[in-house]
Every structure is written in C-alpha cells, then in structure tokens.
C-alpha cells in the first residue's frame, strides 16, 4: 500500500501542478470563468489525498522509532552497499525513502496550511524542487546518496543479480528525478522480468509518463491492457483513468461521449468504494472521490439528473454536485427556469455551501453577459439566506473547508455588491428592480459585511447604502470597522470619522437639530450615537480632529438643551488659540449666553469676537454686537429700574449711536420715554426725543417722537417749540393718521402765540387737506370765528358754509353758531329771513343755557345786523312812500314793519349782551327820529289828517326819546368799553345832541371795569 500512496503522490504532483494552484488561488485571479471553475472541480483534488497520505503513514508507523536524516545518512553510509546484497540494498533504500518522507511529514503539513506554501510546493514542477521542503543542509546530500545507490543498483550490479523490485523502485524514484530515466527503467522492468509482479505497475508508470507527454492514445492503450490486471487497485484505477482519458480525448464531442456513456460511467463507478472500504483504504477513498468528481463533470456535461441520482444514490454530496452541474448545463443551454428549479433542489441538498464556488460563474454570466438581474438576484437571495442560516454551523467544518467556504462567500459578496451597485443605478433600477428589492439586499449585505470583516467590500457596501439612503446602516458598518481595528490605526480613525460624519449628516437631515427647543432633554438615538462615538474618538485619539468631535458633541448637547454638558465641550474649544471651530463654538456660546442672559460670560465672548472681527462671520459679529448692546441695555434697564434715569438715558443713547438701527433698543427707549413722561422728567424726555428724531428711525419712532416732543413742549408751556414740531410733523408726515390732529394743534398753537390772522389759514388747511377727519368740522368753526374776528368776511362765510355743507359729526352749538354767523355775514333782508331768525331764536330758547350763551354772541350780532339793515332800508326809502301812498294806509303798512322790527329787537333783548341791546335801542331811536322828521316835513295846513299827523309826531317823539335814553344810559355807564360804543355815540351825537352834550363820564366805571381784563 505504501507503494500506492507514493505512486499516487508522484503521479498527481506531476500531472496536475497548475490545476492545484488554480483551485486554491482562484480568488486572486482577475477574472474567473465558468469553465475554469468547473475544471477545478473535476480535476483530481490533491489536498485530501496528500493530507490523507501523510495521515495514513503516521498511523502505520505509530510506535516505531523515527529516524532523522542524520540517522538515514548513517544507515546509508555506515552500511557499505557494495558489501551488501542487492536485495538488502533495495530493502535499505525502501526503508530510507519511507523514513525520509515520514520525517518530512510535519513540515509538509505546515506548508499545506498556507496557500503560499502550496504555491511553493506545487509550482516547482520538477523533482529538484521537491527538495525545497527538505532541510537544505541534508536533503541535497541525502538525494545524492539516493542517486548514488540507484546508479549503483542499476549499473554496478549485473542484470541477473537484479530483481524487479529494485528496478521498479529505481523507476519510481527516477519519476521524481528524471521521468525519461524512469520510463527507461519501467520499460526495463517489462523487458527483463516478463512475468514479474511489478509488470502492471511498470505499465502504469509508462501510461502516466505518456499522459505527461500528451501521448494520450498510447496511454489509453496501456490502461486498457491493465483493465484485466490481477491487482484490484491497478485494475480499478486503470478503469477510472480510461474514463478520464475518454473525457480528455473526446472533450467537446458530446455525441461520441454519449455513445460511450455506459463505459465511462462504469469506469468511474469502478473506483467508487464504500465508506467502510474507504476507511481502511485511504488511497482508494481518494481515488474514489476523484472519480466521483469527474463523474459529476461528465454527468453535468453529458447526462441527466436521473443518471446522477442513480450513480450517487448513496452520496448526497456528489449528488448535489452533479445536480448543480446539470443545472448549470441547463442554464448554459438557455433553459433558465429548469436551471432555477434544479438550483433550488441543489440548495436544499447542499449543506456545505461549497457550491457557491460554482455559482460565481453563473452569477457572473447572468449579470455581466446576459443582464439577467432578476435571476441573479433570486440566486443571491437563496444563497444569502442559506449563508445566514448555516453560518453558525460552519464551526464544525474543517478549517480548510471553512476557508474555502469563506473565500467563496467572499467572492459572492463581492458580486453581490457589484450587482447591488449596478442595480442602484437609476436606469437599471427603473427597468428591473423595485426599491424594496434593493433595500432587502442592502440589509442582507450589511449583515454579510459585518460578519466577514472585509473592508474593501464593506466600503463598497457603505457607498451603496449611502446611495440608497440607508445612512445609519452605513455608519454602523464604519463603527464596526473601527471596533474591529486594533490599536490606534489609521483605519480606525478613518472609520470613526467617516461613521460620525454620516451620522452627523443624517442627524441634520432628519431636522432634529433645528427643532431642539421642542426636544429639550430628549436627544434622539442618532444624536446619542454621535455623542458616544465622539467620546470614544476623543479618548482614543489626540489629534487635530478631536476639536471637530468636541464641537460636534457640544453642538448636539447644546441644541438639545443640555447646556452644562455642551459648555464643557465648547469651552475647551474656546480656549484654543485659533481655528474655525473655536469661532463656531464662540458663536454657539454667544447664543447661549444671550439666551440665558448671562451677560458676564456673554460680554467676555463678545469681546473676543469684536477684537477679531475678521475671523467671524457677519451674523456672529452682529450677535456679539447685540450682546454688547443688550448688556448695556441691561445696565441701562437696571439703572432705570433704580430710578437713575439720567445715567440710564445716557447709556441708552450712547448705545443707540453705536447701533442706530436696533429696533429693539428703539422700542426700549420708547418705553423709557413713556416712564419718564409719567414721572415728568422733561430734560431727559427732550434729549431722547431729539436724538430719536435725529436718527430718523425707519421704525416710525421718529414720527412718534416728533409728536411727543410737540406735546411735551405744550405741557411745559413752551408753545413756540410745540408749534414748530407740530408743523414739522405735518410737513414730514402729511399722510399720517395723526397729521390732521397735528395740523389742528399747529393752528391752535399759532392762534395762541402768533396773530389770529396767521392761524386761520392753518385751521382752514385742516379742512382742505383732511376733509373727512373729525377735526375738520371743528377747524371750520375755528377758522370761521377767527376770520369773523379779524374781519375777513368772505373767508368767514366760506368757512361756515363749508362747515354746514360738509357731512360729518357736528355739535349743536357749532351748527347754531354757523347759522347765526352766516346770517350776520351775508346780511340779506329778504322774506323768509325773518322767519329764519325767529326759528333760530326758538332753537336757542329751547337749548340749555350753556349753549344759548355760547351761541348768543353770534346770534345777537346776526339779529342786530338784520335789524340795522331793515332800519336802514326804512330810513332811506321811507319818504318815498309818504308822497305816493295815502297817509293812513302808509301808516298801516309802516306799523306792520315797525312792529316786526320791534319784534326782532326783542330777540336781541332775550340775550344778555347789553352791547347789542344798547346799539339796538340806538337804532330804534334813529328809526323813530327819522320817522318824526319825515312827518314834520308834511304840511299840516289844509291837511285833513292834520290831527292824525300831530298824534303820530308826538308818538314818534316819545318813542325816539325813550330809545335814545336807554341807549344813552348804557353808553354812559358800563358799556364804554364795547366796540359798538363809538357807533352808538355817533348816533346819539347826531340824533340826541341835547343829552350827549351834557354827558359826564362816570367816575365809577373804571373802578370796576379795570378788573376785567381785555375789555378795553
């Protein structure tokens, strides 16, 4: 059996060195095709066999003393082979070779552990390389010893002394050293020892060397002759190799292979052994597994799934492989649905996930060649579910199996990411995949990435996840990477920072940060995660970016209202000399101090900002300014609260100069102004108002202060200044709602301090400019009264008329005043006007005393002027009537008129104004005097009415005397100061000279009138 193992090792090593390397190094290749992958599967797997080879030798030699190369050397050198018989020498050589291999067993195992070793071991390709695994000091010498013995065996011993086992051993060893020599020796065995027991084995060596030289048909011929060998192992192995060679020779010729299907199948089955046999015969077990793999390839290419089930009815593993192979063929032939069904069966059977390796090719083809994304996705989904459900079971697998599974899954993962990224492209997504699909995949990939710790794929995955909006998952991968990285590596740093940066973006994107006020005391999960990893980063690293993380934590804590914690972070930044973050921290803290009204700290920070304005943005500078201003405001507020108004106002105005557009400040100043108004601090009010007017605030406060200043001056009796500011207000804000009031006030001020003449136009302009205002009516009356006083009759008429004709709220007094004034001013005697007078009189009589008295002046003027007109009329036209009209009739009509005049006069008497009563008496006296003169002019002689005339003359005389006396009495006494006095005096001088000449002015008059000012 030892022989068989050695033979197999040698053969396999020589036959398939590159195939081995392909199998194990497949992942390192740029592109792996489906065929090459299938090639791997069908090639004789060296790994199981070689390991098993050493394992079996170990078992076999258990208990024996091991020989070191030195010992072997000693055996070889000490026992002179020349002195030993040929057979002894062969035995010695056989033992030394076995021991040599056994000795190196451990080293081989070690080498097997790494692919690099495998590469080193299998890439040699030639026998000298084999020595590389041997200790350099001894191996070459030892090989030289072997060589020496072999040459000695062949050359120095005569042919007849030689035995076939020596020759065969030489052929076997030369297969390692020199295949042509080995062929020569094998052929020598057949030639020299025709009936030797080694003949079949020598043939087998020849067949192998032919295979190596690609003389496949010759090899096939020899193998066929070995089909009937008595050695069961050789027979079976030959059958198997024949089947293999059929495949190798007829590759691609499916029809020919199908014809030989049964032969090939039996060739493969001939080396299939039962499990029990395999345990006792590891080499056969190896051959069996190799054969099964080849059978799988054959079945996959040529036969059906039914055949597979027949052959592998007891072997689920190979059934799976075979079915998978069949599935692949279906797929290759375009029968996708059949392939998919088959794959589902495979997945159910496949407990090891080794088939993943095969599916790489399928996936690649589906994705890259056929663009069958849906199908690829389904396969991936099946595989990933499988992967997840089975991953816990991996532990029970052999480490190399696990390695293979992992590397295969790694490859799958890579493809999954590629596919996902491909699917992530909008064009593909729209065409093939719904969002849900992509999201499912994303979450699956995430789990993969976490498990396999493959950074390059994790990166791809992260970019995919970010693209898909799965930011939190992406960040989690980064944090996993960070946690899996050791020490203070760059990768760890990078992973932390990247994860945090994503979370930060997400945090902001979710908008929490902008609604912190509602979330005070509640930091969301993302925020907490950021805080946690920031803290981790800060404690683990001490580099420049620590600032960034401190700021980030500070900012989050700040925005969620954890101010004390936030300040701890931010303060650290503020103490730095420079840096963008310092400035941002300052801005945040400024906001905080402003919010909490912590002026002490706020001012300190504001000073930092204001001392270095170029480093800060506008808003921060404004903030700092605002805080500075607010602090001043606060101080000013404190001062004003303590009633230190002077200092407070000075501080307010000082601040206002620096920040003239600060509306808040202006409002504050306004409120201070109001308080000052209450306590009557005139100077400060004046100072504030003038300043506010000077800065001409856009807030409308300058308007307010203009108004207030005007009222202030009125309040302190400085009417001149009040007038100036009122006029300024009207000129500047003529359309303002307070403009009519100010216009009216300006007119009043003017009337008070200037002449009435100059005030009247101002009153009138209130009507003109603001006809609908409530003050317009009042102004009409005021203007009218003033025009009346200053003798501008026309304007007075216009004013009163405007008043009466304009709609608006009018007081009864004003209406009566206007009516009376118009009657007086227009002064027309016409029918109806008497009635008007009487009506007016009735109206007055019904009015309360206060109204009557106020209107009385106008009314009396009106009545008097009416009366005078009537009398003038009578006086100037009276004589004409007497000539033409019969005397008695004349008197009839005259009496009526006189009665009416007296009636109207009685209206004057109803009032208390003696001035007009006096004048009325004088006028009536004049009427009767004129009447008397006219009567006297009529000739009494011969007139039949002489007595009537005389009576009338007497009546007239008594009348005028009565009226003049009354007038005279009033003139003589207390009425001297009235404006009417001169007129009355003239009348009396003209018509009543006898009394006027004797007039002595009373000494009493000045005594009691001197106390009434304004009368003279």
């Amino acid at each position: 059996m030892n022989f068989k193992f050695k033979l197999s090792v040698i053969i396999l090593t020589f036959l398939f060195p590159r195939v081995f390397s392909n199998t194990l190094l497949g992942q390192s290749q740029e592109r792996v095709t489906a065929d090459s992958l299938y090639g791997n599967l069908t090639s004789p797997g060296p790994m199981d066999y070689i390991l098993y080879f050493f394992q079996s030798r170990k078992e076999k030699l258990k208990g024996q003393s091991l020989k070191t190369p030195k010992d072997i050397r000693k055996v070889l050198l000490d026992s002179s082979h020349k002195k030993k018989s040929y057979s002894e020498l062969v035995d010695l050589l056989q033992t030394a070779f076995d021991d040599y291999l056994f000795y190196h067993q451990k080293k081989v195992e070690d080498y097997l552990k790494s692919q690099v070793t495998w590469r080193a071991f299998f890439n040699v390709g030639a026998p000298p390389g084999f020595g590389r695994i041997v200790d350099k000091d001894h191996s070459e010498d030892l090989f030289e010893e072997f060589r020496g013995i072999l040459e000695y065996l062949i050359k120095d011993y005569p042919m007849e002394e030689q035995s076939p086992d020596g020759y065969y051993l030489a052929a076997e060893i030369y297969l390692l050293l020199d295949p042509s020599k080995s062929l020569e020796l094998a052929e020598g065995v057949l030639k020299l020892f025709k009936k030797s027991q080694y003949n079949d084995r020598a043939k087998f060596i020849i067949a192998i060397i032919y295979t190596m030289d690609e003389r496949l048909k010759n090899s096939l011929k020899i193998l066929k002759s070995l089909e009937k060998s008595n050695d069961r192992d050789i027979k079976n192995y030959a059958k198997y190799r024949i089947s293999w060679l059929y495949l190798a020779v007829r590759q691609g010729e499916v029809s020919k292979l199908k014809k030989k299907k049964n032969t090939i199948m039996s060739g493969f089955s001939s080396v299939f052994v039962d499990v029990d046999d395999a345990a006792s015969s590891p080499a056969m077990n190896y051959l069996s597994s190799e054969a099964k793999k080849d059978a799988v390839m054959f079945l996959g290419d040529i036969s059906s799934s039914e055949d597979a089930r027949k052959i592998f009815s007891n072997d689920e593993k190979y059934l799976t492989l075979a079915l998978e192979r069949v599935a692949y063929r279906n797929y290759r032939d375009g029968k996708i649905n059949e392939a998919m069904n088959m794959y589902q069966q495979v997945v159910k059977l496949d407990k090891l996930s080794l088939l993943a390796v095969s599916r790489h090719g399928l996936l690649l083809d589906l994705i890259e060649e056929r663009k069958q994304f849906q199908a690829a996705y389904k396969i991936l989904l099946i595989m990933s579910q499988r992967y997840l459900s089975e991953s816990s079971a991996w532990k029970k697998f052999h480490k190399d199996d696990l390695k293979l599974i992992q590397s295969a899954n790694n490859f799958i993962l890579k493809k999954i990411v590629d596919l996902a990224i491909l699917l992530g492209n909008s064009s593909y997504r729209k065409k093939y995949v719904k969002d849900r699909l992509v999201k499912n995949m994303a979450s699956l990939y995430f789990k993969y990435a976490i498990d396999i710790q493959d950074v390059s794929n994790q990166k791809k995955m992260i970019s995919f996840l970010i693209k898909e909006g799965q930011f939190e998952l992406a960040a989690n991968i980064y944090f996993k990477i960070a946690q899996n990285s050791e020490g203070k590596s760059q990768r760890k740093k990078w992973a932390y920072r990247s994860g945090l940066s994503i979370l930060d973006k997400l945090h902001r994107m979710q908008g929490d940060i902008y609604h912190y006020r509602e979330n005070v005391q509640r930091i969301p999960a993302i925020g907490k995660k950021i805080l946690k990893f920031n803290e981790l980063y800060i404690t683990e690293f001490n580099d420049e970016s620590v600032d960034q993380h401190m700021f980030s934590s500070g900012e989050i804590l700040y925005f969620y209202g954890h101010y004390n914690d936030a300040i701890k972070y931010l303060n650290k930044l503020i103490n730095k000399e420079k840096g963008k973050l310092k400035y941002r921290a300052v801005s945040l803290l400024l906001a905080y101090y402003a919010h909490t009204k912590d002026m002490k700290n706020g001012i300190a920070l504001s000073n930092i900002v204001l001392n270095d304005p170029s480093s800060f943005d506008k808003s921060t500078i404004n903030f700092a300014k605002e805080i500075t201003i607010n602090s001043k405001l606060n101080s000013a507020n404190d001062l004003s609260a303590n009633k230190k108004y002077k200092e407070a106002v000075s501080l307010y105005l000082d601040t206002l100069e620096k920040s003239p557009n600060n509306l808040k400040l202006q409002e504050k100043i306004k409120s201070v102004f109001e308080s000052l108004k209450k306590i009557g601090e005139v100077d400060l009010q004046e100072e504030i108002a003038k300043k506010m007017i000077a800065i001409n605030s856009k807030s409308g406060l300058s308007r307010f202060f203009l108004l207030e200043l005007s009222y202030l001056y009125e309040r302190i009796g400085d009417i001149r200044l009040a007038q100036q500011y009122a006029l300024r207000y009207v000129n500047k804000y003529s359309k303002d709602k307070d403009a009519p009031t100010m216009m009216y006030q300006a007119a009043r001020y003017t009337a008070a301090i200037d002449t009435l003449e100059s005030s009247a136009p101002l009153f009138f302009s209130v009507i003109e400019r603001y006809p609908t205002s409530s003050l317009a009516m009042k102004s009409c009356i005021e203007a009218g009264e003033i025009y009346l006083q200053i003798g501008e009759k026309k304007k007075a008429i216009i004013s009163f008329r405007t008043f009466l004709n304009t709609r608006g709220r009018k007081s009864k007094i004003d209406v009566l005043k206007a009516r009376s004034a118009l009657l007086y001013l227009e002064n027309r005697i016409r029918t109806g006007n008497e009635k008007f007078l009487v009506n007016l009189s009735d109206d007055l009589a019904k009015s309360p005393l206060s109204i009557r008295d106020q209107v009385g002046n106008y009314f009396q003027k009106a009545v008097y002027s009416f009366l005078k007109k009537m009398i003038d009329n009578e006086v100037y036209n009276g004589s004409g009537f007497i000539k033409d009209v019969p005397l008695k009739e004349y008197f009839k009509s005259k009496d009526i008129k006189i009665k009416m005049i007296e009636q109207i006069f009685s209206l004057i008497k109803k009032t208390y104004n003696d001035e007009y009563i006096m004048a009325g008496f004088a006028q009536l006296g004049r009427l009767w005097k004129e009447f008397e003169r006219n009567l006297k002019d009529i000739s009494v002689r011969g007139n039949k009415d002489a007595s009537f005339i005389k009576t009338k003359i007497m009546q007239a005389e008594s009348k005028y005397k009565f009226y003049f006396s009354n007038a005279f009495d009033r003139l003589d006494s207390e009425y001297a100061a009235y404006p009417m006095n001169d007129r009355v005096r003239e009348l009396l001088t003209d018509y009543f000279p006898e009394r006027m000449n004797s007039k002595v002015y009373s000494v009493l008059r000045p005594i009691y009138t001197q106390h009434l000012i304004g009368i003279d």
């Binding site: 009557g680 005139v682 100077d683 202030l712 009125e714 309040r715 302190i716 009796g717 400085d718 009417i719 009043r748 001020y749 009337a751 008070a752 301090i753 005030s759 005393l849 206060s850 009557r852 008295d853 106020q854 009385g856 002046n857 208390y912 104004n913 003696d914 207390e974 009373s1002 000494v1003 009493l1004 005594i1007 009691y1008 009138t1009 001197q1010 106390h1011 009434l1012 000012i1013 304004g1014 009368i1015």
Partner: protein, 254 residues
C-alpha cells in the same frame, strides 16, 4: 390801619407755599399775587402795601433778586414767579416758569400763573392751553375762576357766571373769584344780586376793601346813596390818599 409788615409777609408767603400741596383747606396763594384783579384774604394787606405804597416795592425786589440768584428748586421757582408777577418782571416770570415746568411739567400752580398772564395779555387761546388740562382739586376754585374769566373775555358772560358760581361753591374764601363774580353781576346790571354778593363777601373778608368799594357801587347804582357814602367814607379813613375814593365821594355828594 395795619402797617405793612415785611417780615410777616415773607413768612406767610413761605408758609403758604410750603403747604400748598398738602393742605386742601388752604386758599391757593396764586390768587393772592394778582395785584390788579386777584385777591386773597390773607396777603391782601401786603398787596395793598405794594399797591398803595410804592416804596415798599423795593423790599420785595431785594427778596426777588436774592432768590433769583439761588434758584434751585421748583418751589423756589413758584415763589419767584409770584414775586415777578407782583413786581411786573414779566421776562423773568417766563424764564422762571420754564425753569419750574421743566422740573415739574405738571405744576398746575405755575400753569395757572401763566394762564393769568396770558389773559392779561389778551391771549385767551394761550390761556386755554394752560388751563384746559388743569384738574387739581386743591386749585379747583382758582381754575374755575380763570375759566370764567376766559369765557367772559370771549363774550360768553352767562357761561362765565355759571363757572364762577360753581367756583364759589368749591371755595367760599376765594376772594378773587368772589370779586370777579360780583363785577360780572354789576356788568349785567344785576345790582341786587351784586349787592347781596358783595355784602356776604364783606362779612367773610373783614379786610375786603375792594369788596366794600364795589358794594358801595352797587348801592349807588340802586340810588342807595347814604349807604354808599358811608362805605366810601370808611374806606377813605383807611386809605386817605386814594384819589379814586376821593372822586367817588364827590360824585355821590352830587
């Protein structure tokens, strides 16, 4: 006849000024200061001293000058205004008024003074400004007196009568208001009413010389010459140098 006592005058002046804001029963000193048409019962002696004895004016002037130099408080200002009014120092009067009002913009006493001055100058519109917002209950009768005068000046005599009667109800001891009411009665030839009013005034104010004089006028107007003569003769004893009284007694004798 009482001799002019400068010390007493100054004392009473300060005393009254000090308590003007605290004592509602006190008759405001404003009216005491109007030598032409405002009278008070308490200071009228002093006022008559100035009026009828021009030499005493000098002493007031001295006080005025000293006070003006050390003008600091509004209270001093009000006092100075009164003195300025008495002495006819109207420029000073306005300056001091501004000074006081800047410190006490709602000092109604000062505003009343300003209103009087405005009325004296025939500026009823201006007087209106000063008095329209006056509300002080302690100065109620004085304010009403002034408003009555403004109404009378504007030709609304009946309104003036109403206002003055109302003022008299508020303070029966307001001499100036009483005088003004009586004079308006005389103006409207309401002699009986005038007689009644002045009689009651002479009872209230034992030294109300002006009221006595006007009572005499009311008697004379009703031809009650004996009564008139008696009053004028008594007054002549008090003020023997008064030319007005001398002329009046001549007229009555006729």
């Amino acid at each position: 006849m009482k001799l002019f006592n400068f010390k007493n005058y100054i004392y009473s002046f300060f005393f009254l000024s000090t308590f003007v804001y605290f004592s509602s029963s006190y008759a405001s000193p404003i009216l005491q200061l109007d030598p032409d048409f405002l009278y008070s019962s308490q200071d009228k002696d002093s006022l008559h001293q100035i009026k009828y004895y021009p030499e005493s004016k000098k002493k007031f002037e001295e006080v005025f000058i000293n006070l003006r130099k050390s003008l600091e408080t509004p209270r001093e200002g009000v006092l100075l205004m009164k003195l300025a009014y008495i002495l006819g120092e109207f420029d000073e009067f306005n300056r001091i008024a501004k000074f006081v009002l800047r410190k006490q913009p709602d000092n109604e006493e000062v505003k009343l003074l300003l209103a009087y001055q405005a009325i004296s100058n025939g500026r009823s519109y201006l007087a209106d400004f000063y008095t329209s917002k006056l509300r002080s209950p302690t100065l109620a009768s004085q304010i009403l007196n002034l408003r009555g005068l403004i109404s009378f000046q504007k030709g609304n005599g009946i309104e003036a009568l109403g206002i003055l009667k109302q003022g008299l109800k508020k303070d029966k001891k307001n001499y100036a208001l009483g005088m003004n009411l009586g004079i308006i009665y005389l103006h409207y030839k309401m002699f009986k009413a005038a007689e009644k009013h002045f009689t009651s005034m002479t009872r209230t104010f034992s030294n109300g010389y002006d009221a006595q004089l006007h009572l005499a006028i009311a008697y004379a107007a009703q031809k009650k010459l004996d009564k008139a003569k008696g009053i004028v003769a008594n007054l002549l004893e008090l003020f023997p140098s008064s030319s007005i009284l001398k002329r009046m007694i001549k007229k009555v004798d006729k």
